[in-house]
Amino acid sequence: MIAFLVRRLLQAIAVMAVVALCAFFMFQFVGDPVNQMVAEDATDEDREYLREQLGLNDPIPVQFGKFALNAAQGNFGVSYQHKRAVSTLILERMPATLELAVTAAILAALLGVPMGVYTGLRRDGFASKVIMTLSLIGISLPTFLIGILLIYLFAVILGWLPSFGRGEVVQVGAWESNFLSASGLKSIILPAITLALFQMTFIMRLIRSEMLEVLRTDFIKFARARGLSNRAVNYGHALKNTLVPVITIIGLQLGSLIAFAIITETVFQWPGMGQLFLQAVQVVDIPIMSAYLILIAFFFVIINLIVDMLYYVVDPRLRVDQPTGGGHG
């Protein structure tokens, strides 16, 4: 297990370094941060001074080296736009994004899994077909349009839910949470649904097709032959055996959940990291962009780690211990 963790850690560092490097080369072309910062009537000297201050005159490898060195010490620099430490900015925004992404993931799983199981079991049922078709809405309209339509319906026309923001947040230690106030809870509904819709469809379809496979296996037939209850067979045996690929995909999709959060956060003015990033792109706030990308890579690595560990929990065949039984085959 330790070896496994060490290996993953090394991989993680490598992945993050490559991500950072790629990102760094790209930033060159996103735009010029200086123009976004100076007054319109600033002189060329002013601009040159600022350029020097920002270290933009160094060659890229030097810039990257400095960045990597600082980043390794947890120092991601100062935001050009906000004039604050990037680490603080991102930490401030993280709870919002994580709460949104996690709520969406849970929502997607809570709806997607049972619907997937159901449509897998009743492949030809009318209800299954309806569910399958309706679920396609989740992937047939762009997220931003769904978000705007939801806002229009629930905030403007019905006036039931807020159209933007996080509502009242409650500070719990360093963490600002939505979940502890009524308005916070109300606020998260629409963004979470918007974000979850795609994932839900995906999970549902995946589970369905995996269920269809698993239900035909011998051990399911054998479980029925043993007279186990339907529930035990469908959930205990069939569903559990779909989990390895489902966990893989959900893990991979969590990454895209965070990416799609950029759009959801923009539409719902959700004060998360995605919005911070998007704004950073607009004003070429390089420190924020690099920190965000590294953070996303970090999340991905962590998620992958968790996914791998879940494999071990779910599937005993993947555990590293030596087979104790004599024999093969």
Binding site: F29, V30, G31, D32, P33, N35, Q36, M37, V38, A39, E40, D41, A42, T43, D44, D46, Y49, Q53, L54, G55, N75, G77, V78, Y80, Q81, H82, K83, R84, A85, S87, L89, E92, R93, I148, I151, Y152, A155, V156, G159, P162, S163, F164, G165, R166, T266, V267, F268, Q269, P271, Q275, L276, Q279, V281, Q282, V283, V284
Partner: protein
């Protein structure tokens, strides 16, 4: 009874530091908290603020300001000349982007506790027009909190003034979560008479246009701006909300590279060297259609490059008429009977409906035979590309300008005078034309004290621009502020929102 104003703009203030950012919204917002020696009223006229009165020497280089007595900062500290000297020093720091406002200031001298003298390096009759955004901070507070300098790019040198504020203004920030919400309450000890009836103000940024409009419609915001032009009808037809429209100071115009022999990056001869071609493009543009269809009448077509509000002789000028036939003739005269083609660069997230305007211009120009290849991109990339006087990578482009000093000289020296690094002129002369007469007039306008003479010289410049079609001015875009009907407020042409004029019924 509590009168809370909940309002939203498309972004948040960059930070609360009054000197660090050269960003209109940030400075505009902080103007509710901080004050300068002078301020602008609802009609943008300069009026006394922290200075009760001032005098200027004849050569317009020494300004003496008599400071208002009894003014207190929000923390109760007295306002005095030390604070002024300190603030001018802080804003002149090379890392403070507001430093351009004091670029002409050579020295600030404390005469006594309530008198200061400002000495400029050259005659500057319009100094006060820049001083309204030189905000005065409390010296003691700044020293206590370690805010004597603005933030530089080092994690350990972050100025606390970015996160908290200490001004003399009509409102006090009580609570702020950056990018989420900033809460203000009225300053009970404010020196001026209050006109508003607010008890609390909350500001929330809402980036997405449709979301912002939705929040206004659903009553979650009392005031929100900008309202996209196409949504104005919707907001007006909604019961309880309406849009307050008014002309903005920003002028939108088209520039054409008039220096390069060949179109940048091609072997094609630059057709815009010929005034007839420039005029052909001018006359191909149906400005009324743009006004009606794209701007929904929220634009004022303009013949010159400054808002008529800022130049009294604006009415002397009239646009060349929209006349495609004339355009075609001009092109034929210039030797382009079969038309010509050039690239058209355009920002897509900077001005009101910028991209649509460019698309419309493209289509109109195509009708007379000028084939413009539109390339629209985000401002970060657009400005990087066009705002480089050493490498003018464009043929035709679109840009907008608000004179920071609310004065024509700003336009002339930045946009019209030819580019010169040492004279610091023409940094934004994107048309890249060189007109010796204008270069001659430019310094004269700056130091001319007489308004009539000055206006005449400015008019001469604008006439030359018009005759030679150095630029194609389009319009002044309009402001559209959405609000609930029970809110009354003053809309300023510089798009700055002052809470002190707001009342809620």
């Amino acid at each position: 009874n509590a009168k809370e104003l909940r309002w939203g703009f498309q972004t948040d203030t960059d930070s609360l530091d009054p000197h660090a950012h050269a960003v209109t919204f940030t400075i505009g917002f902080l103007g509710n908290v901080y004050e300068g020696l002078v301020r602008r009223d609802a009609d943008l006229k300069i009026e006394p603020a922290l200075a009760e009165s001032w005098t200027v020497s004849d050569d317009a280089t020494v300004w003496r300001f008599n400071l208002r007595k009894g003014v207190k900062f929000h923390n109760g500290n007295d306002f005095n000349a030390d604070d002024v000297v300190f603030s001018f020093k802080r804003i002149a720091d090379p890392d403070a982007q507001m430093k351009t406002n004091v670029a002409s200031v050579k020295e600030v001298r404390k005469i006594d506790d309530h008198t200061v003298e400002i000495i400029t390096s050259a005659p500057n009759p319009i100094l006060t027009s820049r001083l309204n955004s030189v905000f005065i901070m409390d010296k003691e507070w700044s020293e206590e909190t370690g805010s004597t300098k603005v933030t530089v790019m080092d994690q350990d040198k972050i100025s606390p003034a970015g996160q908290t504020s200490m001004g003399t203004g009509a409102f006090v920030i009580t609570d702020r979560t950056a990018q989420v919400k900033t809460t203000l309450v009225p300053n009970k000890n404010w020196w001026d008479k209050t006109q508003h009836n607010l008890t609390k103000v909350t500001m929330t940024p809402v980036k997405q246009d449709s979301t912002r409009v939705a929040a206004l419609l659903s009553g979650e915001l009392d005031m929100a701006y900008p309202v996209p032009t196409q949504d104005i009808n919707r907001v007006n037809s909604n019961s309880g909300t309406s849009v307050l429209v008014g002309p903005e100071l920003r002028t939108i115009f088209i520039f054409m590279d008039q220096a390069s022999k060949n179109l940048f990056g091609t072997d094609t001869k630059n057709p815009f060297l010929d005034v007839r071609v420039r005029k052909a493009l001018y006359q191909a543009i149906n400005i009324e259609a743009i006004k009606k269809k794209i701007m929904r009448n929220l634009a004022t077509p303009s013949a010159i490059m400054i808002s008529p509000k800022l130049f009294d002789r604006a009415s002397d000028f009239a646009r060349y008429p929209y006349d495609p036939a004339a355009s075609k003739n001009l092109l034929a005269d210039a030797g382009y009977p079969d038309g010509l083609s050039a690239r058209f660069d355009c920002p897509n997230d900077r001005y009101v409906n910028d991209e649509q305007i460019c698309q419309a211009v493209t289509s109109m120009a195509a009708k007379v035979g000028i084939k413009l290849n539109l390339s629209a991109k985000p401002k970060a990339q657009y400005f990087k590309q066009v705002l480089n006087p050493k490498n003018r990578d464009y043929h035709v482009g679109l840009i907008g300008w608000t004179p920071g000093s609310f004065d024509s000289h700003n336009v002339v020296t930045n946009l019209i005078a030819s580019y010169s690094d040492e004279k610091k002129t023409g940094r934004y002369n994107l048309s890249n034309n060189r007109d010796d007469r204008i270069d001659e007039l430019n310094p004269m306008i700056q130091s001319e004290g007489s308004k009539a003479k000055r206006d005449a010289m400015i008019a001469e410049v604008y006439k030359r621009v018009h005759d030679n079609v150095y630029y194609i001015p389009l319009h002044q875009q309009a402001l559209a502020w959405g609000k609930r009907d029970n809110v009354t407020l003053q809309q300023r042409g510089d798009n700055v929102f002052r809470f002190r004029y707001v009342t809620i019924n």
